[in-house]
């Protein structure tokens, strides 16, 4: 009985690992997509209303994934305290669970936001958004192939261990 329980635990653990790895992949896709959408909101808001940066960040945060909205709201709070936005942004972007290339793109926003005229910011944001969307598309493709592979690997590894241990 104890052996059976142990085997089930091992199989369950492996499967869980596989599914978790796949979930992490899709979570990263979601973050990149959400960032691209937030940048799109920024473009629209700047083109029409020219809000101040704290208001803009708040509007970008509305309806976004918690990780992205938390990042935006933290930046907003720090600006209100009189801190340097470029420094805050760079620090916050470091905490995002995305790869270096994507971080580099998002970091680029911190060099532009609130520091140029609205048109200049919108142009820069458009370029960054297009690149983020391309990254998201690549990640979706990765997620489709690798996600399935991780799940299969988890289940297979679980089954293999059961067979080996039995």
């Amino acid at each position: 009985m104890l052996k059976l329980f142990g085997l089930l635990l091992v199989a369950g653990g492996c499967t869980f690992w596989g599914f978790r790895a796949a979930d992490e992949l899709s979570a990263r896709v979601r973050i990149v997509q959400e960032l691209a959408q937030a940048v799109q909101v920024m473009e629209r808001e700047l083109s029409l209303f020219r809000p101040s940066l704290p208001v803009l960040l708040e509007r970008m945060a509305q309806g976004r994934d918690k990780r992205v909205s938390d990042l935006l709201m933290r930046c907003c709070a720090e600006i209100e305290k009189g801190k340097n936005f470029t420094e805050i942004w760079e620090k916050q972007v470091e905490h995002l669970d995305i790869d270096e290339r994507e971080k580099g793109l998002v970091r680029g926003l911190g060099q532009v936001l609130g520091q140029y005229d609205d048109r200049g910011q919108v142009q820069a944001a458009m370029g960054i958004r297009q690149e983020l969307e391309a990254c998201a598309a690549r990640r979706r493709e990765d997620n489709r192939t690798k996600g399935r592979m991780y799940r299969m690997l988890g289940v297979t590894a679980g089954g293999f261990l059961i067979l080996t241990l039995v």
Binding site: V55, G82, G114
Partner: protein, 298 residues
């Protein structure tokens, strides 16, 4: 007032803020301007007299950082103002800016190489126009009034208080606040108290603002700060033609100086204004004189 002054000091970059000496509440309350010039130490204007702080020389990057901090990293929202040489910040204070203008055709696109910043601390003196408001709001209603004074004599402060008093008295007042000096709007909120019945249109040329407000806000009184262009004069005529009472200010030393300037002479001759209030400031004392326009025209 000392608290307001401390809030403004908080905007300064760390190194400069630390160079400001400890000051008593009474001195702080009298600080009118903070002047920063690249290559020179910070200077304060306390009650009309300059006072240089023995501190480090201001670096150009610190001036740029100050503009970013003061605009809450939103230069795009104040760029139009900056091209006119100033920006209004939270609390209604004004940052005058000098540097190198980047031109695009005839117009200034932006200012670069910022070399001087002058922070004028906004003060609202509630009640300073109480007596004058009695003259303006007579038994027959509000008299169309032009407030005349040289720069720094307090005409904007006076007009602001008149607006507040009329608004609190129940009149619908519209303010065409082109340069944001009267209401000092910050993110949709007036930083100065203009009363409960006041509507403000800011950032828009006065002549256009007057037309917009006449069309949409059904005002009883329209107030504008600093009439400077023929279009402003036409807008005043338009408002009067619609039966709206008009309050405005103009730059001039006195009534004679006013009448010597073609634009103001035209303005007086249109018959829009019934009275002129002349402000002057001598030795820190402000004097207020009221003259009827028909006397001036004789």
């Amino acid at each position: 007032m000392a608290k307001v002054c401390r809030q403004v000091f908080a905007l300064l970059p760390d190194r400069l803020r630390q160079s400001v000496p400890e000051m008593g509440e009474d001195v702080l309350a009298q600080v009118e301007e903070i002047r920063l010039r690249a290559g020179h130490p910070l200077a304060l204007t306390v009650s009309d007299t300059g006072r240089r702080v023995n501190g480090p020389a201001v670096e150009p990057q610190e001036l740029e950082l100050l503009l970013h901090t003061a605009s809450k990293w939103s230069v795009h929202t104040v760029l139009d103002q900056l091209c006119s040489g100033f920006m209004t910040i939270e609390g209604g204070h004004r940052l005058g800016v000098a540097g190198t203008a980047v031109m695009e055709g005839e117009r200034i696109r932006t200012l670069s190489n910022i070399s001087s910043v002058n922070i004028r601390i906004a003060r609202q003196i509630k009640g300073c126009a109480r007596e004058l408001a009695l003259h303006i709001e007579g038994e027959v209603g509000v008299a169309n009034t032009l407030i005349v004074a040289p720069p720094g004599a307090g005409k904007t402060t006076l007009l602001r208080d008149i607006i507040r008093i009329l608004s609190e008295g129940g009149l619908r007042v519209c303010v065409a606040d082109e340069r944001g000096e009267l209401a000092a709007m910050w993110q949709g909120k007036a930083q100065m108290d203009l009363g409960p019945n006041t509507d403000v249109l800011t950032g828009c040329p006065k002549a256009q603002a007057v037309q917009i407000m006449l069309r949409g806000m059904n005002p009883q009184v329209i107030a504008v700060d600093e009439i400077t262009a023929p279009e402003d004069v036409r807008a005043m005529e338009l408002a009067m033609g619609c039966g709206v009472r008009v309050l405005a200010t103009a730059h001039a030393q006195n009534e004679d100086d006013l009448y010597r300037r073609p634009i103001y002479r035209t303005l007086l001759e249109t018959g829009v204004f019934e009275q002129v209030v002349v402000l002057s400031r001598r030795g820190g004392q402000r004097t207020v004189r009221t003259r009827q326009v028909r006397e001036l025209l004789c």
